[in-house]
């Protein structure tokens, strides 16, 4: 069996499933908004570089942006459940299958890291009193990327799940310390610390017992990666049958329990549970927190209004993906849910959540009502209007779907 060829075929098949959507992405309004945001960011960043304000915490900014890009790793293995039967006899040769996956996964993430570094560099050299060399920094970040990627691979192989979680934390801590040491310390002293820390980390990675091939974890990880790719695609176009990663989140287990006990809200119950334990919740929460923070910093300016509306728009796009949840659910075909309630429940749920977030993200502006009554009130009103616009869009989509079903 040619394992390299098998992986290549699976990669081509996966790409073949995504490529038909590219045209729709280009045509979609969301893509235009992203393009507009990129242009607006470029203009803002250029003006910032022309007139850099004093006291920018550039080392912290570098650390905050470079650490996730350097540490976050992932590979598409395209493994499937039947592989535990059919590829198991090839376990001793699976390195041939995984090496291309590892290389490809790193290649794209190294490019992403390089893009962030090159974007940040003009700001860094203008604000840092004793900047490091670009080439040396790039080499160091490349080494951190490869170290993190190797660390992730080892984490996936560990026999113990709790140990795997601890090693993930260790990976982030080690990478964070390495980047911080490079940014804050003189090059010589920093390098000595970095080499010692990396060596200790590599030794630590060899200590716990591990699987030769962690089949089940790799299959679960691949499933999640595939679902995430579809979710990103879903920001632009309708992708049917999206699965999502599930988190226990016991603190949210009561959410949905007190909703009215009626058949026409049964789907809302399922949707609430799915949202509470799914990846969309985490994404929305992170976007909302970042939006809240940036809105707070810019609450006295129109830049703040733009940031608020942009983040609210992104939140809306994320919430829209709830429409695609359970779109191919077997039980929704069998259970006697009143006709049309799936769409109605989803629209109401998304609207309510979006509206609440519009108010929460608008709180920084509401604190400035005394000084900027009209701009502040107008900002929040625009946010509420945006939530209504999303609702209208969803209602029209649902109505069109119902017409198609008739």
């Amino acid at each position: 069996m040619d394992l390299k060829e098998l992986r290549r075929e699976r990669h081509s098949q996966a790409m073949g499933k995504l490529l038909p959507y590219v045209g729709y992405i280009i045509q979609s309004g969301v893509a235009m908004v992203f393009l507009f945001v990129i242009i607006a960011f470029s203009a803002w960043y250029t003006s910032l570089l022309r007139d850099v304000p004093d006291g920018i915490p550039i080392r912290w900014i570098m650390l905050a942006l470079l650490l996730p890009a350097a540490t976050h790793s992932g590979f598409r293995t395209y493994l499937q459940t039947p592989d535990t039967v059919f590829l198991l006899p090839q376990e001793h040769r699976m390195r041939e299958y995984f090496v291309p996956a590892w290389i490809r996964g790193n290649l794209w993430k190294i490019l992403r890291l390089a893009f962030i570094l090159i974007t940040l560099w003009p700001l860094y050299i203008r604000t840092e009193a004793s900047p490091k060399l670009l080439f040396a920094t790039a080499l160091l970040l490349l080494a951190v990327k490869l170290l993190a990627s190797f660390g992730l691979w080892r984490e996936l192989s560990l026999l113990s799940r709790p140990a795997s979680g601890s090693y993930a934390l260790l990976r982030w801590a080690v990478c964070g310390l390495i980047i911080a040491a490079w940014l804050w310390q003189p090059a010589g002293r920093g390098l000595l610390f970095i080499v010692l820390l990396a060596a200790a980390y590599l030794v630590a990675l060899h200590v716990p017992a591990r699987h030769a091939v962690p089949w089940e974890r790799l299959i679960a990880t691949e499933k999640n990666q595939g679902a995430r790719a579809l979710m990103m695609l879903g920001w632009f176009v309708d992708v049917p049958g999206r699965e999502q990663r599930v988190y226990a989140r016991r603190y949210l287990s009561k959410w949905g329990g007190s909703m009215p006990w009626r058949r026409d809200t049964a789907y809302r119950y399922l949707l609430t549970k799915s949202f509470a334990r799914g990846d969309i919740f985490g994404i929305v929460l992170r976007i909302a927190l970042l939006g809240l923070l940036l809105s707070w910093w810019n609450r006295g300016t129109y830049v703040g209004t733009a940031i608020y509306l942009f983040f609210l728009f992104i939140v809306g796009v994320q919430l829209l993906s709830l429409r695609k949840l359970h779109s191919e659910s077997f039980w929704l075909t069998i259970y006697p849910l009143p006709q049309g309630t799936k769409g109605q429940n989803t629209t109401a749920f998304v609207f309510r959540t979006h509206l609440i977030l519009a108010v929460v993200l608008g709180l920084p502006f509401l604190t400035t009502l005394g000084e900027r009554l009209l701009p502040a009130a107008g900002t929040v009103a625009a946010g509420v209007l945006l939530a209504f616009l999303f609702k209208g869009y969803m209602s029209r989509k649902e109505a069109r779907l119902e017409d198609d079903d008739l």
Binding site: Q244, V246, A248, S253, W261, R262, R263, T265, A266, Y269, L270, K273, S274, A276, R277, G278, H326, S329, F330, W331, T333, I334, Y335, P336, L337, P338, Q339
Partner: protein
């Protein structure tokens, strides 16, 4: 007594392709308070028949009514009158056992107090009390099957369509399921049950329908099938073997 069959299938032909029907003129009835065993070899058409009943497939010819209503005429009443236990568990990974049962109860419009008492009873019966707040993805296959059974039974519809329910269940689970099905049957519910474990269902079902190559080749009680085959006193397994061998 109401003699309207809970399930009536007449002249059903259907399958995945119009040119190659799997089912050929299948007709069957399930009366109130009756447990009917649908038996056949792999590929005989049992699951296809069930998919037609559930509305997952559309008949090429023929009619299916549940409590006298077709799915096209009144989908709400049709689906509300039946519940289904699939051969392989189909669960939402985002929900716990309790939440699955609650979602089913809400969907079928079961009163909250009824849901609470029934879910307690079912959890106890299938020894799932300590798993009620566990996410479905953390359950064993047998436990997942128990969740499917609990969901079907919390709804208390007129008709249960049960496809190979014993797969993955432990012996105690099988016994609990059989006893509970008898209890439901005695309370007036109807059950259409498909299984390959003929020695087990032999003593529980009132009637059997033998499907072979998409056709009904025998039906009736064990004694009636034995008499029609001129093999009185034989077990269901022996009769089934003779019937399908004869049909080859």
């Amino acid at each position: 007594m109401n003699n309207t069959p809970v399930l009536q299938i007449t002249g059903l032909s259907g399958g995945y392709s119009l040119n190659k029907p799997v089912l050929h003129d299948v007709g069957l009835q399930v009366q109130p308070g009756e447990m009917v065993g649908l038996i056949g070899l792999n590929g005989a058409g049992k699951s296809t028949t069930m998919k037609h009943i559930l509305g997952l497939m559309s008949p090429h010819k023929g009619d299916i009514t549940v409590l006298g209503k077709t799915r096209a005429a009144d989908p709400g009443a049709y689906h509300g009158a039946l519940s289904f236990v699939p051969e392989s568990p189909l669960l939402y990974e985002e929900m716990t056992v309790r939440e699955h049962v609650e979602f089913t109860a809400r969907s079928y419009g079961v009163e909250r107090s009824d849901y609470e008492s029934r879910s307690l009873q079912l959890a106890k019966l299938f020894r799932m009390e300590d798993k009620m707040d566990t996410l479905s993805s953390h359950l064993s296959k047998g436990m997942k099957q128990k969740v499917m059974i609990m969901c079907a039974f919390v709804a208390r519809p007129a008709l249960y369509v049960i496809d190979e329910p014993f797969l993955g269940l432990d012996p105690l689970g099988i016994r609990s399921l059989l006893d509970f099905m008898l209890e439901l049957k005695n309370s007036g519910a109807s059950i259409l049950l498909s299984s390959h474990i003929l020695s087990t269902i032999e003593n529980y079902c009132d009637r059997f329908i033998v499907l072979h190559q998409g056709k009904v080749i025998a039906e009736g009680s064990l004694a009636e099938i034995a008499a029609a085959s001129k093999r009185p006193g034989q077990s269901l397994e022996q009769l089934f073997y003779e019937l399908v061998q004869g049909g080859e």
